[in-house]
Symmetry: none
DNA sequence: CTAAATCGTGCAGAAACGCGCATAAACGTG
DNA sequence: CACGTTTATGCGCGTTTCTGCACGATTTAG
């Protein structure tokens, strides 16, 4: 009776799934191979996240179906720096809203691992990225997806958003200005941002330096309504001071 | 007793289906060909997704493992061929539903340009791909996104889906069998598929050869309820006839 | 603390593998 | 039929994978 190596791996994996544990020496006797081979198999399964190695055998991993995500997306350095700073606000087990913004896509990738987060978003691309992570619950808000914004906005999306009370909300801004406050280029998008920010316990606005001191046509929030505006490390001090004077709580990246 | 190459492939495939595994050296002896030939056959079957290659032989492929984008990388050629055939059913200006399936991801890419389509989907990745096209209206159905299925399913998604009456609905199937009909591996996913198929004027099920004549645990539809089942060009005639006898309207790819 | 069990690593032989090449049959075409 | 082309097959050869064994390190149990 010849048993194929791959077949043996499958058998061990299914045995593990069924019984919750396997013992190396038993498997060796039962499958008629040396313990070394079994240990190698277990090491292999462990490397693929299919079992947890213990002395004398292996156990079923705490969270099964670990998906290996080899894809590392290239992203702008500034935005991932903002993202790394932004996640400091996120508490374990909290619910996080990410609206449609490139910085928020970076945040989706930078979220702390295995925090038990519930992530809500109206942007399919962000929902997709979050789902690929595999370590957080993802709730996507549906509706008509506007192609310039890249997210579901409009009445139906606003309606669906009413069901949520996120602990923290990251809003992308098209413009941040001492007088105009937070603004956006799309009317419906601005309304949606305003709605979800109002429903959230805390609103954080990460903004790249290029958008500081600029205003977009549609008003979203006053600067004072944000829990924080996160700016890049190289943001001009004059701009930061002007916003502070207008009531903004500015946090500089990497400090 | 000369055996035709294709005949041998069919025999290996059926042996694989019956026993769950084949050993290269045994097949070589039994069929009186060299191991090289067997290896080439197994490589061929593997490329078509009909077996999983392992050291020393091959195993029956595991059913539906991995996330949506992992699945879409497998047999991408076959899937885009199915997609090219599938879009024949799509009329200009119609509304199209695409559920979570790797073949539907291929369809999203293959949709005719500038047809003024309204595309509805519960899979964020498909919504994302559609939005990036920029030539069709996209409606994403929201809800809790199941990570193994890669789409929003459950009560909330079903509720949102009730608002739509798509002209045409493309359903991914985990199994297509003359007796079991169309089936899926995930209970909620099966319910969602059934609901959206019922709401659609026409339901098309594209299916890769590996899934023909296999059944998954949860029933979705009877074969007769589909406007068409689209199979690959190389689908075995016996399987096609068996499904036809069960009331399926089969359309072969590229014909 | 000690002894036994278990583990990791390096090594060597055997088996399986992929690849290129050559031969032969099957095919299509004029 | 003659010819070039495609396809299928077997064989040689270098490479990779699998496996058991030896040996020293590590962990566990009494």
């Amino acid at each position: 009776m010849s048993m194929l190596p791959g077949e043996r791996l499958d058998l061990i994996a299914s045995r593990l799934q069924a019984d919750g544990k396997v013992v190396a020496v038993d498997l060796a006797r039962e499958l008629d191979v040396s313990e070394d081979t079994i240990r190698r198999d277990l090491r292999d399964l462990s490397a693929r996240g299919l079992c947890q190695r213990v002395y004398g055998g292996a156990l079923r991993p705490a969270v099964s179906t670990g998906t290996l995500d080899e894809r590392s997306r290239q992203q702008s350095e500034a935005k991932s720096a903002l993202a790394r700073a932004a996640i400091d606000w996120i508490a374990e087990g909290s619910s996080v809203f990410l609206d449609a913004a490139s910085t928020n896509l970076a945040i989706a990738d930078a979220l702390p691992r295995d925090f038990g987060l519930t992530c809500i978003t109206n942007a399919p691309q962000i929902a997709s990225a979050l789902t690929l992570r595999g370590d957080c619950d993802v709730v996507s808000i549906g509706g008509l997806v506007d192609r310039t914004v890249g997210a579901a906005i409009g009445a139906e999306a606003m309606n669906a958003a009413r069901n949520f009370r996120p602990d923290i909300c990251f809003l992308g801004a098209c413009g941040v200005d001492p007088r105009a406050g937070i603004s956006a280029v799309h009317a419906e998008d601005a309304s949606f941002k305003r709605a979800i920010a109002g429903a959230s316990a805390m609103t954080i606005v990460p903004v790249t330096t290029a958008k500081l001191m600029t205003a977009a046509p549609f008003h979203v929030l006053e600067l004072a309504d944000c829990a924080a505006v996160l700016v890049e490390a190289d943001a001009p001090e004059a701009a930061v001071e002007a916003c502070r004077a207008a009531g903004a709580k500015i946090r500089r990246c990497g400090q």
